[in-house]
C-alpha cells in the first residue's frame, strides 16, 4: 500500500513530512520518536489508517484504538506534569520565602516580605493585602500595613513595572521595604485606621477566623448577614480571604487578601497555599517582635549602664574632692593660728613704728602677705564647708544683678564692660543663695581676670524647660583643653590665672545643689562659662 504519511519509513527527508519543523531535524532519522511526536497527530496518518480500514486491514482498527489510548495517556501525563510544575514553583517560592523569613529580624522587613509574597505574581498573585496586628497589650487587632493598587490604572502600571524588572521575591521585598513601605502605609491610612477590632468581640468575623486557625473565604460581603456591612464598604470588595496568623497558641495578627482589580476567584488551592505560608510568617513576626522588644530592653539597659557609669564616676570624683576637702581643711586650720599670730603681731608692731622707720616696709610686707595667705585659707576652708547647701527658691536675675553691682568697681578699674541681658520672665531657681552668689562672683572674677583691658564680658540668662542657664562670656585668649580642665581642678596652675580653688569649689558647690558648671570654648575665642540651675524642685 502506498502510505501518504512517513510513519513506515526509517529515514525521510524534510519535505516528506509536514509535521517536522525547523530545528526538529533529528526526527528525520528517528522513526519511533517521529511516530509518537508527529505522526499520531498528522492528518496524513489518519488518512492512511482510514484507507487501510476501508481496504479491510484488520490492524487498522487496532491502530486507531492504540492511537486514541496513547493520546489520552499523553494528555493525562501533560496535566500531571503541569500540576507538578505548579507544585515545584510553589515549593521553590515557599522555600525562598522561608529563607527570607528565617534570616530577617526586622519587623517591617518581615512584613514587606509577607505582603509582597501575597501580592506578587511570582507569589500568590493576589491583587491586594492588608495586615492587621494584635497590639502590645493584647486588647485589639489593628490595621498595620496595606499593599496593592488602589485602582485599575495603578494596578496596570505597577504590574508592568514588576514584569519588566524581573526581580526575585527577595529583591522585590527589599525594594518594597526600602522605597515603598512608608508611602503604602500612608496610601491605605484611612482603611488601616478603621480596621480595628477588639479581641473580646468574639462574634466578629476576624476573631472567628482566628479561632478557627484556618483561612476563611468571605463571599457576598455586601449582603452577608454574618458580616458588618461597614467592613465590606471599607474594603470595597464582595469577596476576600481572611488568613489568621497564629504562632503556638498566640494570636499574632490577620491578613486580608482580595482580588479587587481582576476579580479572579479565590480557589481552595489558593487558600491551602496561604495556610502553608501563614505559619512561617506568623513565626517570623513573633520573632521579629520579640527581637524588637529585646532591642528596646537592650537600649534601656545600655542607657541605664551609661547612667550608672556616669554616677560612679561622679561619686569617685566627689569622694576625691571630699577627701581633698578634709585634708585641705585640716592643713588650713593648722596654718591659721600661726598665721594669725604672725600677722597680728606684725600689725601691732606696725602701729608703733614711725613712718620713716626702715622696719615699716618689712612689717607692711608681713601684714600684706599674711592677709593674702588668709584669703587663700578662706577659699580652702570654703571648699570643705560646701558640703550641705540649703536650697530655696531665688530670683536669679536679681542675684546676678547684685554680683554685677558688687564687681562694678574692679570692672571699671580694668576698663572692662559688663553687659547683662536676662531673658524676660526667668523663673526662680531652686538653689543655695549664698553658695550660688559665691559661684557667680568667682566665675565673673575669673572672666574678668582673663579679659583684655577695654573688653566686654557678656552675661545672658536663659530659661529652657526645667533649667535656667547663666552664660558668662569673656573676650580673653582661647583656652586649650588642658587649661580648661586645670581651671576646674583644685590647685592646678594655669598660665593666666595661677593655682586656685575658686573654680573647682564652684563646681563642687553647684554639683552638690544639683546644678552644673561647664566651660565652653567658642570658635571666635574667649571662654564661655555656663552655669545650669534647676527651675524645678528635685531630690539631690
Amino acid at each position: 500500500m502506498d502510505w501518504k504519511c512517513c510513519w513506515s519509513r526509517n529515514e525521510i527527508t524534510a519535505d516528506e513530512c509536514i509535521g517536522v519543523a525547523a530545528g526538529e531535524e533529528s526526527l528525520l532519522h528517528a522513526q519511533r520518536r517521529r511516530i509518537t511526536e508527529k505522526c499520531l497527530d498528522c492528518p496524513r496518518f489518519r488518512d492512511d489508517m482510514e484507507r487501510a480500514a476501508a481496504e479491510g486491514n484488520p490492524l487498522a482498527e487496532l491502530a486507531a484504538h492504540l492511537r486514541g489510548e496513547y493520546l489520552a495517556q499523553r494528555e493525562q501525563l501533560q496535566s500531571i506534569a503541569g500540576f507538578l510544575d505548579t507544585q515545584t514553583r510553589e515549593i521553590t517560592f515557599l522555600h525562598e520565602l522561608s529563607l527570607v523569613l528565617q534570616t530577617s529580624m526586622d519587623l517591617d522587613e518581615v512584613l514587606s516580605v509577607a505582603l509582597t509574597a501575597i501580592t506578587a505574581g511570582k507569589g500568590f498573585g493576589m491583587n491586594r493585602a492588608f495586615l492587621l496586628m494584635v497590639d502590645k497589650d493584647r486588647r485589639y487587632l489593628q490595621g498595620y500595613l496595606g499593599v496593592g493598587p488602589r485602582n485599575a490604572e495603578e494596578a496596570w502600571h505597577t504590574w508592568q513595572e514588576i514584569d519588566h524588572s524581573n526581580l526575585s521575591l527577595r529583591e522585590m521585598a527589599t525594594h518594597f521595604h526600602r522605597n515603598k513601605l512608608a508611602t503604602e502605609r500612608m496610601k491605605f491610612r484611612e482603611v488601616l485606621d478603621n480596621l480595628v477590632v477588639f479581641l473580646n468581640d468574639e462574634d466578629h468575623i476576624f476573631n472567628r477566623a482566628m479561632r478557627s486557625r484556618k483561612a476563611m473565604l468571605v463571599e457576598d460581603a455586601f449582603t452577608n448577614p454574618d458580616l458588618d456591612p461597614e467592613l465590606a464598604v471599607l474594603l470595597g470588595v464582595d469577596r476576600f480571604l481572611l488568613m489568621p496568623l497564629i504562632s503556638g497558641n498566640r494570636r499574632i495578627g490577620l491578613i486580608i487578601a482580595d482580588n479587587c482589580i481582576t476579580h479572579k476567584p479565590i480557589t481552595p488551592h489558593d487558600m491551602q497555599s496561604m495556610e502553608i505560608f501563614a505559619f512561617p510568617v506568623a513565626f517570623a513576626l513573633v520573632r521579629a517582635s520579640l527581637y524588637e522588644r529585646l532591642q528596646e530592653e537592650v537600649q534601656k539597659l545600655t542607657a541605664a549602664n551609661a547612667k550608672l557609669r556616669e554616677q560612679q564616676e561622679l561619686i569617685v570624683r566627689m569622694e576625691k574632692m571630699a577627701l581633698m576637702g578634709k585634708i585641705t581643711s585640716s592643713i588650713a586650720h593648722s596654718i591659721r593660728n600661726p598665721l594669725l599670730v604672725i600677722g597680728g603681731f606684725a600689725r601691732s608692731l606696725l602701729r608703733n613704728v614711725g613712718g620713716d622707720d626702715p622696719k615699716r616696709v618689712s612689717l607692711e610686707s608681713i601684714v600684706s602677705e599674711a592677709k593674702q595667705l588668709e584669703r587663700v585659707l578662706e577659699e580652702v576652708l570654703n571648699y570643705s564647708d560646701s558640703l550641705y547647701p540649703v536650697r530655696d527658691w531665688w530670683d536669679v536675675t536679681q542675684l546676678v544683678d547684685y554680683v554685677c553691682q558688687e564687681l562694678a568697681e574692679p570692672l571699671a578699674q580694668h576698663r572692662i564692660r559688663c553687659d547683662f541681658i536676662p531673658e524676660e520672665r526667668i523663673p526662680h531657681a531652686f538653689v543655695d543663695y549664698k553658695q550660688t552668689t559665691y559661684c557667680v562672683r568667682t566665675v565673673l572674677h575669673t572672666a574678668m581676670a582673663r579679659s583684655r583691658e577695654g573688653g566686654t564680658i557678656r552675661i545672658a540668662l536663659r530659661h529652657e524647660g526645667d533649667w535656667i542657664t547663666l552664660e558668662i562670656a569673656d573676650n580673653g585668649p582661647s583656652m586649650s583643653d588642658a587649661e580648661r580642665d586645670a581651671l576646674l581642678m583644685p590647685f592646678a596652675t594655669t598660665q593666666q590665672l595661677g593655682g586656685s580653688v575658686g573654680m573647682p569649689l564652684c563646681r563642687v558647690m553647684l554639683e552638690k545643689q544639683g546644678c552644673a558648671l561647664e566651660i565652653d570654648k567658642p570658635p571666635g575665642g574667649g571662654a564661655l562659662f555656663l552655669i545650669h540651675l534647676p527651675a524645678i524642685q528635685e531630690e539631690v
Binding site: R336, N337, K371
Partner: protein, 126 residues
C-alpha cells in the same frame, strides 16, 4: 575698767589678744584651758569672755554651756579658726561669733558692740 577673759590654748594668741585688747583700754586676763578659765571666773568678775572653741582636748562649747547657765550676765564671744561652728546650735548660745583673723578689728568691733548691748540702760530721771 572692763575686764575681759580670753580663753585660748595657743600661748602666742593669748599674748597677742592681751596686748591688742589692753591697747584698747581693757583689762585682760587669759586662760589656756576650760579648767583654768573656770577657776579665773570664780576668782574675778568679768564683763566679757572671748572663747576659743577648739581647746586641745576640750571643747569651748562645753564651757560656754556652763557659763551661760551660771553667769547669764556675762556676754561671750566665740572666736574660732573654724567658720562651720556657726551652724552648731550650741554656738548660738554665744552673743557673737568671730572667725579668727590676723586683723583683730572685727573682734574689737564685736567686743564694743556686745558690751554696748549688755550695758545697763541709763535710768530715766523720774
Amino acid at each position: 575698767m572692763t575686764r575681759i577673759l580670753v580663753v585660748d590654748d595657743e600661748a602666742n594668741i593669748r599674748l597677742l589678744y592681751s596686748q591688742e585688747l589692753a591697747d584698747e583700754g581693757y583689762e585682760v586676763v587669759t586662760a589656756a584651758s576650760a579648767a583654768e578659765a573656770t577657776e579665773k571666773l570664780r576668782e574675778n568678775d568679768f564683763q566679757l569672755m572671748v572663747l576659743d572653741i577648739k581647746l586641745k582636748n576640750e571643747s569651748g562649747l562645753d564651757l560656754l554651756k556652763e557659763v551661760v547657765k551660771e553667769r547669764q550676765q556675762m556676754p561671750v564671744i566665740l572666736c574660732s579658726a573654724f567658720s562651720y561652728y556657726k551652724e552648731d546650735f550650741s554656738a548660738w548660745l554665744a552673743d557673737s561669733y568671730v572667725v579668727k583673723s590676723s586683723d583683730l578689728q572685727e573682734l574689737k568691733d564685736e567686743i564694743r558692740h556686745v558690751l554696748a548691748k549688755r550695758a545697763p540702760r541709763p535710768q530715766s530721771g523720774a
